[in-house]
Amino acid sequence: MRITDINIRTFGKLANRSVNDLPEGLILITGDNESGKTTMMEFMRTTMFPSSKRNLYPEATKNDSGSLILKLESGEEIILERKGKDVTALKGKERPEKMFAMDAETYNSIFAMNLADLTNSGVIEGIRNKFLTIPGGDNVPAVLSDLESLKKAIMNEERISSTNPVRVLRGEADEIGREMSSVRIQSGDYDRLVKDMDTLTDKIRTARSAREEKDNERTGREILRAQKENVNKIEKMTEQRSKLAYADLLTEETIVRVDTIRNDIAVMNKEAEGLKAPEPFSKEKAARVSGALKSASAVLEERNAVPSDEVPEPVTSGAQRSGKKFPVLPLMLFAAAAAAFAACIIEPLAAIAGIALAIGGAAVLFAEKNKNAAQPVQTIRAARPSAQSARESAVRYDVETIFREDGRRFKTIEDAVTVLEGMIRTDAINTDQANKRGAKNREIAQKNEELIDIEKNYGGRDSFNKMKADRASYIAAGIEIDMLTKSMESATKTDIGTIKKLLSQMPEEVIPENNDIDDMNRQRGALQKEIENMRSDVRLYDLAAKKDAKETELANTVKEWGVLSLQNYMIDRSCQELYKNMQPSVIRTANKYLGTMTNGRYMIDTDPRQEGINIRDGTEYKTPKQWSSGLGDQVYLSIKMAVAKEMGTERLPMVLDDILVRFDNTRKRSACEAILEFAKDQQVFLFSCIPLNEIFPVGSTYRHVKL
């Protein structure tokens, strides 16, 4: 399609301006600034593809009017009539935007533009996505970016960093591995622990035996020590007893015999004691008493035969004469005192004899007194015949003599007779007692002799008695020694000889208590616990499972990275393939124009992996940020011309408004060559404030319109 006629009646600053019979190819429209170049371009593009957007320059008015005549490649002519903002295709035809299914924005971005439009990045991105990538590949940069991020999140490219999961997991697995080693080392100690425990058990067993031995020894020593005093006692007693051994010569029979004799003597002495009485009168006295009695009796007979006056009996003693009583009580007290004194001073037997004597004496005296008292005082009778009296006096005398010996008194002959008769009776008794006593004493003497004979064999009575006492001590000591010995032997279960020997050999030091066993038992308990803990220790399994889990996670993570890497690889390889063999034709065309404009220096890089539009300078790769503004203009112009060339079947006119202003002359010329190349089969309106015709290559074909 081409524009054949531009008829502006009113549009901006232009009025009644027409350019007609426009040909194919390049139409160069030049003019000074403010000559209406931009206004004409705006008229052309807004009439072909009206936009609902507000037109900024020139500002649209309702008076805008004019027409464009288009001629399709089919030869069909379309007249677009403009009034204000309304554009109408005459003769019922369709307007271009409907006919080519293209809106004003697209047309303006690709076909009709000023310098600002040329480099509009949004437009460029749209073009890239739409025309410069192959189907299905437009997500490649984003996908690659994702893959890059995901891969790096697992593992850096150059070096696995300490924060990368791969390293972290490896570290965790290694740490578990170290822990496992530690547990294994501990487990390796099991043998040692069991050995230690066995050793300790043996030690404890040995120590227990030793302790038992020591305990026994200690107990033995204690028992022995406890017997030491007894042993000493026995020894002392034995020694003492040995000194009494001589007494053992005294036989039991002898002792019994002696004891029997002594006992007999004692009994006999007692019997003899019972026979004690006053001594009988001597023969002479007995004869005198008897004679006196006889005489007295004869006197009395004589008296009785011869009556006589009563005459008082002569007083034969003061007492009798005075009639005083006989002092019995003082005499008895005296006798008792004498006996007591004798008892204290002399001997018991003598004392007893004394007492008996005193009592006897007292009794005799008392009896005499009473006798005397009972006899009334004789009245002295009348004088006797002298013979009689002489006889009486002789009798009295005899009696008085006799009585005087005994301290007796009498008053009368009758009394004397009575007394004398009593005396004779008593003497008879005494004589009998004396005889008996004599017999007993003889018997005692005989026993004594026998006793003395025996005792004499042992050195006399005292010696015998001592020997007897020593013998008793000897025997008693023997018994005591026996008892002690038996008691010790029972307690120690050892004979006395051994006890003495052990005691003599027993060291004095104390056997210490063995507390090591308790310590060893505690150690053994701890070991046992440790062994049991080890036996139930499942940490290694747990750690092995954890390590395996970590390593599995690590392998899975590496595998995940591998799958990402493979995706990356697949995209790379696909891109390389496409780069070589499946380059879009737009790129090829753009590169033709860019090559013309840059004298073949730059090529557009079509790697789908790259975002935006990039170029290569030989092998050097340049992103848009590295471009100069002029290079950018060249690249974008090339691309737009290529897109315009490749887009659709109807080649729409291209309208360029002062897009070469940033080029130097060389670039301008090159750009013009490219545009001329483009314009060979597609109409181009090139508005310029500079006379480009002057730099066009000689022989170039174009139409020049001056405004």
Partner: protein, 404 residues
């Protein structure tokens, strides 16, 4: 009177070894996971006691050397002791994972345990030479990379003869081979009635009469060890295997499930899992097809797993996705646009040698480090090629504007 006895054949208990590739260690499951191999051991002893087995054969890899602890040896010793109390003898041949042993003095095995040496096969008749019911001949590994054919010197007798060995029969593995041997060689040893083998975790009866048996491991430990795991109870009557019964010992069962996402949303997807997999299983999901869920599988896998686990009661150990976005790859391959270029590149990568593919992945300096490259080098071919598919699906999604 018929001479009859029973024995149990098990192997590869791997006591104390962790489960493999549980990507996020779950402490709530931890105890169950740790206890599972020991629970399997106890089930074996229980079975031996209840069935009045004469002996139990452990064909190696009872422990994992790396993870053997006093705990694991102590519990094993206790289990042996329990068997001994019931009058059960235990024959033990060690494998590549437990060739070296610790704490033998401090945790000794009871007298009913017979450990085969590594310097040559030893015959320990059962129950004894006088009343012999079987000859049990075994040998253990001497190193972690036992290169000898341990079966070479094993010879049976006229009695029912059992060979116990941890070995790798006719393996085509490119990696290390442990005690390699040939099936034909085993078959040529006519005097062995039962080869009680260990090493291969998948149970297999390679031959009958003579029996050549891998009972498999007693507890699956990874997504590769699926379904029931256990041991064999063998009944021998009159010198011949009369009955062979497999019994399960696992506490946790690994399952592999293939689900197609085409036409499914998350609800119908979860429903399709719930109806198939028993609760409590550890599941490897192999998802395929095209559809909207592809995006969720690739971008929101963790939350998707959480949703599946919540609604199925299973533990999703791994999702192996070979899904695609809702794009017809074949149709797009020839459109000439960028997408077709990517698809063709993926096609090319799917066929390049491993090293080329790994080089295509490891393009950065950091990724070219041995540490990273080893991860890819250790992947098997399928896993490595699957990455290409994952990458294609993801990149198509991204190019279509599905991701930022």
């Amino acid at each position: 009177m018929a001479k009859e006895f029973k024995f149990i054949h098990c192997s590869d208990l791997h006591l104390g070894a962790p489960f493999k590739k549980i990507s996020s260690y779950d402490h709530s499951m931890g105890e169950k996971i740790v206890n599972a191999p020991f629970a399997a051991l106890n089930r074996i002893i229980d079975k031996g006691i209840s069935e009045k087995a004469g002996f139990i054969i452990f064909s190696g890899d009872i422990f994992d050397s790396e993870n053997t602890t006093p705990h694991s040896r102590f519990l094993f010793a206790e289990a042996l002791r329990r068997a001994g109390t019931a009058g059960i003898r235990c024959y033990i041949a060690y494998g590549n994972h437990d060739h070296s042993r610790m704490w033998e003095d401090s945790i000794p095995f009871p007298d009913n345990a017979i450990e085969f040496p590594s310097d040559g096969p030893v015959n320990v008749p059962y129950p004894d030479e006088k009343d012999k019911l079987a000859d049990v001949i075994g040998i253990s590994h001497g190193t972690s990379a036992e290169g000898r054919d341990l079966t070479a010197d094993i010879h049976g007798t006229s009695s029912f003869s059992i060979a116990v060995v941890h070995c790798d029969i006719d393996s085509s593995s490119e990696g290390k081979r442990y005690a390699p041997c040939r099936l034909n060689d085993l078959l040529s040893k006519k005097d062995i009635d039962y080869w009680a083998l260990g090493h291969i975790h998948k149970r297999a009866v390679l031959h009958e009469a003579p029996y050549i048996v891998y009972p498999g491991n007693t507890q699956g430990r990874s997504t590769k060890e699926t379904d029931e795991k256990g041991a064999y109870l063998i009944t021998v009557m009159d010198g011949k295997v009369a009955k062979m019964e497999f019994f399960a010992t696992h506490s946790i069962m690994w399952k592999e499930l293939e689900v197609n996402i085409t036409g499914k949303d998350i609800t119908s997807f979860i429903d399709s899992i719930r109806t198939i997999i028993p609760r409590g299983s550890f599941v490897k999901l192999k998802v395929s097809g095209r559809g909207v869920l592809d995006r969720m599988i690739r971008l929101e896998q963790k939350s998707m797993i959480a949703a599946i686990e919540t609604h199925t009661g299973c533990r999703i150990a791994e999702i192996e996705a070979s899904t695609m976005p809702d794009i017809d790859i074949n149709e797009r391959r020839n459109t000439g646009d960028f997408t077709s270029a990517v698809i063709k590149e993926a096609d090319r990568l799917s066929t390049v040698p491993r090293d080329v593919l790994i080089a295509a992945i490891c393009t950065t300096k950091a990724s070219s480090s041995p540490e990273i490259m080893s991860v890819f080098r250790e992947m098997d071919d399928d896993e490595l090629r699957k990455m290409v598919n994952d990458a294609l699906a993801s990149v198509l999604e991204r190019l279509a504007g599905g991701r930022r």
